[in-house]
């Protein structure tokens, strides 16, 4: 459903993206991993139509992305800046639904349902600044879910929460993807996380960035923070991604898959 071809972007004379190509199929959860500053956020902003890339082609559902596509939602890393502090959690979640032409009552109901899905059934009346970081990021996720996007973009969504919360949120996203059939593109610089949540992992090089490898993960959809991370296949994939991120060369993805 998402097709990125030879995406190039420069800020002034600084070439960040040097020809990135990959695609994401309907219902897939693809994680994109790469070193800090390699242009992951730039890639995401291009897909969202928030910036106009210098070159290349992005299509979403066959349509070229020129402005912000409909039915797209983003969860940013910085929840405290992305949520609106003058609104309650429920109103934060309900606000984007105005775009869907829903009346006040239906917006409110949809917001409550989404908050329930992320485990915040009772927190609708709270303000973001009255919540912990993990709760705030759950609100951001609820806001994206309520919008029922066909593509959900997540830019290092768990980069600013503690380890335990991070694991909870990873499982929440896996759940959501399984139950709602949303297509998710999740950006991270965490190698472990990219393998744990992804159906596929796209590894990026340093800038000018290209795709270093496109690995099928094949661990199935039901994952467990402890059991999955102990699997031989997981350990091997993590080592492989780690080598690639550090600029090593790929053993062919096929050979990685053969071993488990």
């Amino acid at each position: 459903m998402l097709e990125i071809t030879d995406l190039v972007h420069s800020y002034g004379s600084h070439r960040v993206l040097g020809g990135v190509s990959f695609s994401v199929a309907e219902g897939e959860l693809v994680s994109v991993v790469g070193p800090s500053g390699c242009g992951k956020s730039t890639l995401l902003r291009s897909v969202a139509g928030l910036i106009r890339p210098s070159g290349g082609r992005i299509t979403l559902g066959g349509e070229p992305v020129e402005r912000t596509p409909d039915n797209l939602a983003i969860v940013f890393q910085d929840y405290s800046r992305s949520l609106f502090p003058w609104m309650s959690a429920a109103n934060n979640v309900a606000l984007p639904l105005r775009r869907k032409g829903m009346d006040r009552r239906r917006r409110r109901e949809a917001a409550m349902t989404a908050l329930e899905q992320v485990g915040l059934a009772d927190a609708g009346g709270k303000f973001p600044w009255e919540m912990s970081g993990g709760m705030q990021q759950r609100v951001s996720i609820a806001r994206a879910l309520a919008y029922r996007p066909s593509l959900l973009l997540m830019d290092e969504p768990f980069g600013s929460v503690d380890a335990q919360t991070r694991e909870d949120l990873e499982d929440l996203v896996l759940n959501v993807c399984a139950h709602h059939g949303i297509t998710i593109l999740l950006i991270t610089h965490d190698i472990d996380e990219s393998v744990y949540v992804g159906d596929r992992v796209i590894v990026l090089t340093r800038s000018p960035t290209r795709v270093a490898a496109d690995l099928e993960i094949g661990l199935g959809r039901s994952r467990d923070q402890i059991a999955t991370r102990q699997l031989d296949a997981f350990v091997r994939l993590r080592a492989e991604v780690g080598r690639l991120v550090r600029g090593g060369h790929t053993t062919t993805p096929a050979s990685v898959l053969e071993k488990h």
């Binding site: 940013f76 992305s82 502090p85 606000l95």
Partner: protein, 257 residues
């Protein structure tokens, strides 16, 4: 509100009043020029039931309120426009930087020449002088809006105008409110200054002018006292309102709840 701080303020004010009274009693100053503090306070109390003074005070407050409303109606949209169009802002900034430091009272004689209608004259000088803090704070508030907050709504497909209305405006609101509070203080000064300089039929400034021509320094000071008190009360009310409405802002910037 901090109880100890209020108490210290009251002690300071009482101390000043007592000292002024002692100076008056000592006979160092001729009380035709500087009446006893007790006389002034008694006069101020008497003004509460003085129909003439009440009409004058009402007239000044009406002008003040009208001027402030007009200021908001002019300066907030202008600030929104300049805050969202950086090129337009760059073009008018030198003009603003030149006009803003001119003491506002200095434009009153010009306004006297320009306006034949006394009310229009007062409103014009109030709007001119009070607009600066509102304009500057609106522009500053808009510049301070988090780009990520705007991007969030943009990513949900909101067009620039809805993003302005739903993110930029609420986010800048605390700054705008502070600008309006500063403007309210300026407006009361300009209202009374215009009455003193341009004359007219009613207003606290007119009352003071008339008390002066009758050599009633005690009444001049009593009326001035009420004008000052009004300024303090208006400011406190607005501070309280800001804290209530923009609690999210004060919590974030680390101010008291």
């Amino acid at each position: 509100m901090n109880y100890a701080r209020v108490l210290r303020g009251v002690v300071g004010a009482a101390g000043f009043l007592a000292a002024a009274e002692l100076v008056g009693m000592s006979g160092l100053v001729d009380d035709r020029f500087l009446p006893r503090m007790s006389t002034v306070l008694a006069g101020a109390a008497g003004l509460v039931t003085d129909q003439d003074f009440l009409a004058d005070a009402g007239a000044t407050l009406t002008v003040w309120l009208l001027g402030l409303l007009l200021t908001v109606a002019v300066a907030v949209p202008a600030g929104l426009l300049l805050g969202t169009l950086p090129r337009a802002e760059a073009a008018v900034r030198p003009l603003i930087e030149f006009l803003r430091p001119i003491p506002s009272v200095a434009v009153i004689p010009l306004a006297i020449l320009l306006f034949s209608d006394n009310l229009n004259l007062k409103l014009a000088v109030i709007v001119y002088a009070s607009s600066w803090p509102v304009l500057i704070n609106t522009i500053y508030g808009l510049k301070d809006v988090d780009p990520l907050a705007k991007e969030t709504l943009r990513s949900f497909g909101f067009a620039p105008l809805p993003v302005l209305a739903r993110v930029a405006l609420p986010s800048a609101a605390p700054f705008i409110a502070t600008g309006i509070r500063v403007a309210s203080g300026i407006a009361i000064i300009l209202a009374i200054s215009a009455e003193l300089m341009a004359g007219g039929s009613e207003g606290i400034g007119i009352y003071i002018t008339e008390a002066a021509s009758g050599s009633r320094v005690d009444l001049m000071l009593a009326a001035t006292l009420w004008a000052g008190l009004f300024g303090v009360v208006a400011d406190s009310v607005m501070v309280a309102l800001e804290r209530r409405l923009f609690r999210w802002h004060h919590v974030r910037t680390g101010g008291a709840r």
